[in-house]
Symmetry: C2
Subunit: 193 residues, 2 copies
DNA sequence: GACATTCTTGAACGATCACTCAAGAACTTT
DNA sequence: AAAGTTCTTGAGTGATCGTTCAAGAATGTC
């Protein structure tokens, strides 16, 4: 017996970065071997093919984001300050130079949806569960009296998701911190009134 | 002398549709010859190369959108009803089956920005001038007393652009009319208070 | 109707792509 | 330390890509 020599999570994060930089279609296997340090044969042994590496990268991304989400919204804390911090972190991420301004799920969806129905379905349900998690937090805020009783959490969550999509897109032409921060603040106020 | 046999505008709209369907990278010249009815040589004669066809398509798209914008915002009409109608048309467009849910400018920007700085700059300025046109309308609404005097047109226009980006992205996973219409209405209210 | 000019046609080219596989390297077991 | 097993290596494969170009078709001029 002999164990594989690479760290799967690290490989997936490297691949993800490569995909984010160039997009799936224009990331060649050569790019991926350089980014991950793995040779073609190893990649095909571990992930089947290029698409398999993308799928695995998506899952890793999802897991990382879920962990980050849970850390930002502790279950015993007031919700609205956490939401504010969540948006501030989003602004930071969009402002930073590395090309993680776009959400990987949305970017993959935009590029692949027309040609890969299966992947589209998986990405859609991931985004759906993210929206559901936001909705649950808004519901909790309502239950705790942080939000007016006449608010509809489902509607607010949808609007919030739309706003975050828009913010990430806007950041691609306007990465200036002040602009993004102002937009995020307006979005926050739209939710809280 | 002999004139070219194809209608340039129609060719560009066909090419644009092909690019929108598959994305620039995955639209092959074979796809483009089929979509436009032109043979490779004719395309290269008229537009230089594949990228040239994209650039020309972008310009055609821009011109078409500008005309549509001018038609939606007549200079002698009240602004807010026009804005409402503008958003309703957007909902219609996102709801329709053909794959024009994404703005071509944004789609191209997302796919090409990292690899084509020149195109990125052109797309950015196009989007900028669109935002400026929206800002001018909002300013006019303010001047005509349709909006409160303490509103900042530049800030509102930015927020509106962000919201439209978000709506178009949201439509890619949720093309249902009711959902999109509700989001558009919320966005409209965020602008008008 | 014949010549000159321009446009159209589509087969062919080099480059690049995702992917394969047989040989060598490295680790575990005995 | 030697054998056995698994992982690693990277040159090679067929397919597809964007692009070219020389020959043929169609138009305008005399």
């Amino acid at each position: 017996m002999r164990q594989a020599e690479f760290d799967r999570e690290q490989v997936l994060r490297s691949a993800l970065k490569a995909f984010l930089n160039k997009g799936y279609g224009k990331t060649s296997m050569q790019d991926l071997t350089k980014a991950t340090g793995l040779h073609p044969g190893s990649i095909y042994c571990a992930f089947g093919n290029k698409r398999g590496l993308l799928v695995a990268s998506v899952e890793q991304y999802k897991a990382d984001r879920d962990a980050q989400f849970a850390a930002t919204f502790p279950s015993d804390a007031p919700v609205l300050p956490c939401l504010k911090r969540y948006l501030d972190e989003l602004v930071n991420e969009c402002h930073s130079c590395d090309s993680s301004r776009a959400c990987f799920l949305v970017k993959a969806l935009n590029e692949m949806a027309d040609q890969d129905a299966e992947l589209q379905a998986e990405l859609s349900t991931s985004l759906e569960s993210w929206q559901a998690a936001l909705e649950a937090q808004i519901q909790r805020a309502k239950d705790q009296g942080e939000l007016a009783a006449d608010k509809n959490p489902a509607v607010l969550a949808r609007y919030l998701v739309m706003g975050i999509y828009g913010l990430r897109t806007y950041a691609q032409t306007h990465p200036q911190r002040e602009v993004l921060q102002q937009l995020a603040d307006q979005l926050y106020l739209s939710i809280c009134h």
